[in-house]
Symmetry: C2
Subunit: 342 residues, 2 copies
């Protein structure tokens, strides 16, 4: 029997509020239409959501793994894919080279080794990944031009640069964040001049409205589509569209226990949230909730369903094989999280 309402779902279950998702996609597409946005598939790992992003005018996608690009291409969603990540695995890169016969595939490189791996795999299109302050991948800005020259000598087409200012996403004041993004992007722009090519790709959900004058020409946001409570702290106008549904399985005088835990959501950005409750702690299969003192509601009963808002979307999505698509209490579809794995 297929569940028709959320109350009928076996739990834990990943839920997507399709109206909230649509609103988020519309709002972003209005600000960054078409190729101005290169939606990041790593946030949702779901070709059905990517298909909606395509219907909102975005044909170019950012991916974090070869698997994501291969799955997107197989689903026929998107025509220009950027692997915004360094990959040394020649077998996986060779699989991408196959995809590049039918869609444009560009990969990020930040070292001689990544150039060599791409050459061996038969990949041609690259972006120079530039470190803009986050201690992670990317070459130092002053070395970017030289790496581009090396890539061109190896026969590659250098389409431009990318840089991810991830260290600035949660700077809490809008003004300070704006200022630091501008500074960070200065180094990307300078690198872009040295590198050449037409693409300057950067940004994320937390800096979605801070790039009007930074010189970048595509934004790599992903979390905006479904959101999480971490990004919600920034008071950006995207709505929570993703939940993990749980059942109250135990109740004592002082707390409730639901069957949502560390295997169905990620707590690396802090505990999840449940309306009217404080989260005491999460364990593998459970979350213990204490009713907020100012909550007017009576506590939920054993067997009741509660909606849990994850603090970090991306790793939470990757824990589920499917998402139930809802409008109000009705379930209108079930989508596979089909881009998981590597």
């Amino acid at each position: 029997m297929n569940p028709r309402k959320t109350v009928e779902l076996a739990t834990p279950a990943l839920i997507i509020d399709v109206d909230a998702l649509e609103k988020n996609l519309s709002l972003m597409a209005e600000r960054h239409p078409g190729s101005k946005l290169r939606p990041h598939t790593k946030a949702h790992k779901c070709t059905e959501i990517a298909r909606l992003q395509l219907s909102h005018s975005h044909t170019n996608f950012t991916c974090a793994t070869p698997r994501e690009i291969i799955g997107m291409a197989a689903a026929g969603v998107g025509s220009d894919f950027l692997l915004a990540n360094e990959v040394l695995d020649v077998d996986r890169l060779s699989a991408l080279a196959k995809v590049s016969e039918n869609a444009r595939v560009t990969i990020a490189i930040d070292s001689l080794e990544t150039i060599n791996a791409a050459v061996r795999a038969g990949l041609r299109d690259v972006l120079i990944d530039v470190n803009v302050g986050l201690p992670r991948c990317g070459i130092a800005p002053e070395l970017a031009g030289q790496l581009a020259d090396t890539a061109r000598k190896a026969g590659m087409t250098v389409r431009g640069v990318m840089g991810y200012e991830g260290h600035l996403m949660m700077v809490s004041s809008d003004e300070k964040r704006q200022q630091r993004v501008a500074e960070s992007m200065l180094s990307l722009k300078r690198a872009a001049q040295d590198v050449g090519g037409e693409i300057i790709s950067a940004g994320g959900t937390g800096t979605w409205n801070m790039h009007d004058e930074t010189g970048i020409n595509e934004l790599q946001a992903g979390s905006y589509a479904l959101m999480d409570t971490h990004y919600a702290q920034l008071k950006i106008p995207f709505m929570q569209a993703c939940f993990v549904l749980g059942t109250v399985i135990s109740r004592s005088k002082d707390w409730l226990v639901i069957d949502v835990g560390l295997k169905s959501l990620s707590t690396d950005h802090g505990n999840p949230s449940v309306d009217d409750y404080d989260v005491l702690f999460c364990s593998d299969e459970h979350t213990t909730l204490v009713r907020k003192k100012d909550s007017g509601l009576s506590p939920a009963n054993i067997g009741d369903k509660l909606f849990v808002k994850p603090s970090h979307l991306d790793p939470t999505m990757a824990m589920h094989s499917e998402a139930w698509i809802t409008r109000g209490e009705k379930i209108i579809d079930c989508w596979q999280i089909d881009l998981r794995g590597w």
Copy 2:
């Protein structure tokens, strides 16, 4: 081409050192042979590991989800399964009732609602789940006898009690932990007297050697088989047998980046560990490492493989669909993590 050595593996990859696993299983089976141990499958979610536990004389298993019991029974591993968790979902419980035609299936109950769900599903064998101090599931000890009476009136066989002293696993001094476990188990023993039945089930890896005089007659440990860095803090004699293999994908003057992140290991118990490196931070697909100052080694090169020790085993296992089984550098098998999901 099947990989024959760890250096040939595509990453991130879950690795199990089979000799370390065997040592852990032997050590535990020596202390708690046969039915004295009811290994918890939630820690590994892998029937191949459970099969090894069976070969170490344990025929009774603890499970956290109906899926785990159904999968174990389908694999023919084990003959007596305890669902040490409250489940209200009658469809899933009915699936367990089917399993109980060929194997003994006992479920934990802690409320009238859980009794009713079990009755509707046609399940007969139960344990009374008693709260022994961890704010999670389990009925208050003083109410356990009454709940057992209610269950018997509903036609159930009450096999005894269980209680999980999870709040004591990480009490850092052995002496204090021992003392608090003894106190906590006093309430379980009293509840057991009120409840009747033969089983008194409790304990975990952190208290594996503290139950000689607590009166419990089966230990529910799981993590001991593969271990994690969190439990390793206790200096218990089980070895790290589980790793996530990563590839160095980027290197700067000050740090390395590997392709192991929040989607391939859980950080809820803190950052993972890598020999000779400090972990700067983990993000979705990456971990940034800084070489320890006192490390004599030269830093790894781009393309090198590094072994990462997870801080929390259970949710990490649940992120992977397979584990590569190694002896030294050789890969000797690949096991499915086949008990994932719910």
